[in-house]
């Protein structure tokens, strides 16, 4: 029997690497369902048969836990890093000024309501005081991977996304980016939750535990996440 792991979109590049390792270490085959954290949380609320939920924030898993969808309290497994990113070699040293230039017609961000990376981007933009000025330029992606698509296809000149995009060895596109000053946004503390669907399922518990293993942390680090 396969396990279903719902992951926040920012984990997509990481997951490709993790999958093989999980199989090796725990013997479990996992099916990965990805989307924005908020979208997955809504699906779980409505009966989606997922076993483990890896969110891009802490809020969604905590709420689910409160409402009885989890088996045990949510745990943080990593801290994400927000970047500004482009296919063009733009000079990001003063990105707030850059974004206000006329030649930057569109800026992609994740949907702040459901994608934690989108929310982080909004916070950063608000803190630098340019969010309102730029409002006509925003293009909102359903999840952070849609933002990635927009950047990679050149549909937008610049977007806010996860560091794991540029750390992905599978990505052959040359990207230019800069990490956003962590002081500009609340830490992206990514939590996970063992869901009630996995009750009594030893394999699920094993895989859940794996995400806290040194091996998991090593892979997360490779992709630019902070782990403690």
């Amino acid at each position: 029997q396969t396990l279903r792991v719902a992951i926040a979109a920012n984990l997509e590049p990481v997951m490709k690497v993790m999958k093989a390792d999980i199989k090796k270490q725990t013997g479990a085959d996992i099916e990965v369902i990805s989307g924005s954290s908020g979208n997955l949380a809504t699906q779980i609320r409505n009966g989606a048969p997922f076993d483990i939920f890896l969110s891009a924030d802490t809020g969604f898993p905590q709420l689910l836990q409160q409402d009885g969808f989890g088996i045990q309290p949510a745990e943080i497994y990593a801290q994400g890093v927000l970047i500004i990113c482009s296919k063009q070699s733009l000079n990001f040293s003063n990105w707030p000024a850059l974004l206000q230039q006329n030649n930057i017609e569109k800026i992609a961000i994740g949907n702040p309501k459901i994608a934690p990376y989108g929310r982080a981007a909004m916070e950063a933009l608000t803190k630098t005081g340019i969010y309102n000025k730029l409002s006509s330029k925003f293009v909102t992606g359903e999840s952070i991977s849609q933002v990635n698509t927009y950047i990679l296809q050149g549909a937008v000149p610049v977007g806010f996304t996860t560091l794991s995009l540029v750390k992905d060895p599978a990505n052959k596109t040359k990207l230019y980016y800069k990490e956003i000053d962590p002081k500009l946004y609340a830490p992206i503390e990514q939590s996970m939750l063992l869901l009630k669907n996995a009750r009594g399922n030893a394999a699920a518990a094993k895989v859940y535990a794996w995400f806290k293993s040194e091996q998991a942390k090593r892979i997360l680090k490779q992709f630019g996440y902070h782990v403690n």
């Binding site: 279903r4 997509e12 369902i33 989307g35 009966g47 698509t149």
Partner: protein
């Protein structure tokens, strides 16, 4: 490469089209007859899914069938039937969603037939059903085939509803249209291309086959 999304899509399309042929044809026929307030209302209801964006339909299905509450909970408890995040649910949703694509064109075609055809059949002692099968249906065959193809294709193209109540579960609800979306999101453009191409190729051949069949129906030397 994982072929299951393609197979799933074709299966969904085929099952839905079959169900809608069985339900939709008699319905279309019934609606094509004399006007009455009752029929007008039925007709409006049948057409509803048409004006429903898939996300709206998905939303209401989610609310109705979510096993956490109300009707969905009851279904789950009593029949162990879960309609969200399951193939059965997709079939139900697709059938609702595509119903008007079967019914509307077929109904119009029935209306275009001269009444005397059915009358002639009745005088031969044939029941309404016999008349329907042997006289009316064969005479709207081009429209019938078109409607079936539209329905099948519309189901293959189903995306919004599936995204809403499908949950993207491999082998169960991850149909091809979702798989393409996913591949793109995961930057696996090659996979996206392959899925797209297969889908196109299969259905293109199917559609072309239907057209050729449709065109080369018996025609005489003076047509």
């Amino acid at each position: 490469m994982d072929l299951s999304p393609l197979i799933l899509s074709l299966k969904l399309g085929a099952v839905t089209t079959l169900i809608l042929l069985v339900i939709g044809l008699p319905l279309a026929w019934g609606l094509s007859g004399r006007r009455s307030l009752f029929k007008l209302i039925i007709e409006a209801i049948v057409t509803m899914p048409l004006v429903l964006p898939p996300s709206v339909l998905g939303f209401y299905l989610l609310v109705a069938f979510s096993p956490e509450q109300g009707f969905g909970k009851w279904l789950h408890k009593v029949f162990d039937l879960q309609l969200v995040f399951s193939f059965k649910g997709l079939v139900l949703a697709s059938a609702i969603y595509s119903l008007p694509f079967m019914v509307s064109p077929v109904k119009s075609a029935f209306q275009q037939l001269p009444v005397s055809l059915a009358q002639a059949s009745y005088t031969l002692g044939k029941t309404r059903w016999q008349t329907f099968w042997h006289v009316l249906l064969p005479n709207i065959k081009p429209t019938l085939i078109t409607a079936a193809v539209l329905t099948f294709a519309h189901t293959l193209g189903e995306f919004g509803v599936v995204l809403m109540i499908g949950g993207n579960i491999p082998g169960v609800t991850r149909v091809a249209s979702i798989a393409v979306y996913n591949s793109v999101e995961q930057m696996e453009y090659a996979t996206a291309n392959v899925y797209s191409f297969c889908l196109l190729a299969i259905t293109f051949i199917m559609v072309l086959g239907v057209f050729i069949y449709n065109k080369y129906q018996v025609k005489g030397p003076l047509d």
